[in-house]
Amino acid sequence: MKRLLSVVFLLLVGLYPLMTLAAEPVFSASDMPWDDGTAILLKWELDPKMDSLSLQKADSLGVFHEFFNEFSTQGQHVDTSLEIGDSYKYRLISYNSATGDSSVFTGSATTKAQWFDMNKLSLLIMLSLVCAAILYYIYLGRKGKDLFIRRISGLDSMDEAIGRATEKGKPILFVPGLSDLGDIQTIAALNILSPLAQKSAEYGTELLVPCRSSMVMSAARETVKEAYMKAGRPDAYREENIFYLSDDQFGFVAGVDGIMLREQPAANFFLGAFWAESLILTETGFGTGAIQTAGTGQPHQLPFFVVSCDYTLIGEELYAASAYISRDPQQLGSLKGHDFGKLLVIILVLAGVVAEILGWGWFKHFFEGGS
């Protein structure tokens, strides 16, 4: 026992200089990991007595120029917009303005582009799993397997809404959201517009589609035209019924409200991306007595839709609409893939909670990604 204690004591004495050495100020320059090769990461740990610094880079003639001087005892800075494969020399000078003491550190690094951003590994794994699941279920759907999907009453009600409009001799109003064609919600809305337009063509009911964006207007016109042709009623197609109103959010809303009050559509469909104007649209529609179906991927607008519409598609139901209406096995298969994705997320959330409780920080760190 005594021998063991003396060995430990000697080790500590021997290691002490190393430990104090490890606390010495340091400065390092290294290639920024997982980037396109245009950045260098500079890290420093200074003597706490210092109160200012100057970070300098050498130019092609070897002359150092300052490019950063925000002081921190322990910090880092990323030098960006560099050339790939070039070598750069740096100098860090730290000062104590009261005593005039200074320390100089130098370092150099060569930029290198990486093939893969390891910070996004977790994202790649999850994306691969979800996509693989979607493709697997699409394959199953193609093979003829019966894939169950629960009822979405908002979409079942489409026939009822079109029927009511036909009975009353009033038009149907379809607003494909206020976002541009780059938003998936708008694409989802146009997917629903297609069968809706086909049905209204079959019943001979007028369809009005005001658009906030001209690109959406072009896509909507193509969609409706194709639908009318499929229904065998190309003569009934009216290009002027699908029109651009205004890019301005509330200018568009004022226009749509005006249409609802003048034309008195019997059925309103508000599907796509909506913001603060959602309640203005749906309350005006409620006032005209129309049957209203709404759906958006924006969670904070859903309560307004639920309160003033007869049917609401909540979040993912909007994206499922195309598959639900067409009953295409491939599209139904992709919906099952979404469900797998949700199961994966639930498992990861539970696993993450357990890992945090047990103090396994690596689990959360792996999924955090980022720099």
Partner: protein
């Protein structure tokens, strides 16, 4: 089927009462005080932590329809940034954004001048610049992350990017110390979070209308995807409180508070009416059944 006439009349009474509930506190202020919340404090701390001379972006991604809620935030943030010596770069993802920016800069300058006529006011091109509107949203921000000059070759006065002294050291978004997006919809704050923070790791804070705020709360986490959030008029009033003055947002909290109480009362009356109707229907059913 159109709404029954009784419902139409009730609606109009509700509207009239709301007008009075908003108008009267504006004419006769109640003197109510607000207090700061952690989300507002986080935005304040972000600006406080950045040293003088740092280039920052305030993106005016809104139009005049939300001017009452968001413009007070803009005024308070610009004043704070100038107080800290930050160089403010105004951009806009909405077409009317540049005008909102100019209005805000001019209003703050006038306020500073009225407080101290001899003080040196912020100079255009040195302390702030308005780069104007660019369509494209997320795509534009990605472009800014590579090369700001390519996206904004000149400012709204037509002056070339390289001639503006403030922008001398700003090559891309990576040179920006923080971005605050004042956003009323899309494109806006979400695009800044996904691109500026997600891709280029630039701290992002936001100001939105109250109705959009719940949707952005998931981003305010320990990962700092969003470094604080100003949600609606109340947050604007909180920021004014932190800045030590009472502006239009603080004054606006009087009618807003009264209107909230009115809506709660309307909910109560609505429930009383619904309960009475259910009771009468039940009695009628019992009478019919004998």
């Amino acid at each position: 089927m159109k709404m029954p006439e009784r419902t139409v009349i009730e609606r109009r009474i509700v509207f009239l009462v709301l007008v009075l509930a908003v108008m009267l506190p504006m004419l006769f202020p109640l003197g109510l005080k607000t207090q700061s919340t952690p989300l507002t404090q986080k935005v304040y701390d972000l600006i406080e932590s950045v040293p003088a001379g740092a280039p920052v972006i305030i993106s005016f991604d809104y139009d005049p329809s939300v001017i009452t809620e968001i413009q007070p935030m803009a005024l308070a943030l610009i004043e704070h940034a100038w107080q800290k010596g930050h160089k403010v770069i105004a951009t806009a993802m909405w077409p009317q954004g540049p005008q909102m920016a100019d209005m805000a800069f001019n209003d703050v300058k006038e306020k500073l001048k009225s407080q101290n006529p001899d003080a040196k006011l912020p100079q255009y091109g040195e302390d702030y610049v308005n780069l104007g509107y660019k369509p494209g949203g997320l795509v534009t921000i990605q472009g800014m992350g590579r090369n700001m000059k390519a996206i904004f070759p000149s400012d709204i006065t037509g002056k070339k990017y390289e001639e503006i002294s403030l922008l001398e050291k700003v090559r891309s978004l990576k040179d920006i110390r923080y971005v605050i997006s004042l956003s009323a919809g899309d494109p806006g704050l979400r695009d800044w979070i996904m691109t500026a923070k997600g891709k280029f790791n630039v701290p992002v804070a936001g100001g939105t209308t109250a109705v959009s705020t719940p949707g952005f709360l998931p981003y305010v986490s320990d990962q700092d995807q969003l470094h604080g959030l100003l949600g609606g008029l109340k947050s604007a009033a909180e920021y004014e409180l932190l800045m030590g003055y009472e502006g239009s947002a603080s004054r606006g909290m009087n009618p807003q508070s009264v209107a909230h109480i009115l809506i709660l009362l309307l909910i109560l009356f609505g429930n009383i009416r619904a309960a009475r109707k259910r009771k009468m229907d039940k009695l009628a059913l019992e009478a019919n059944n004998g």
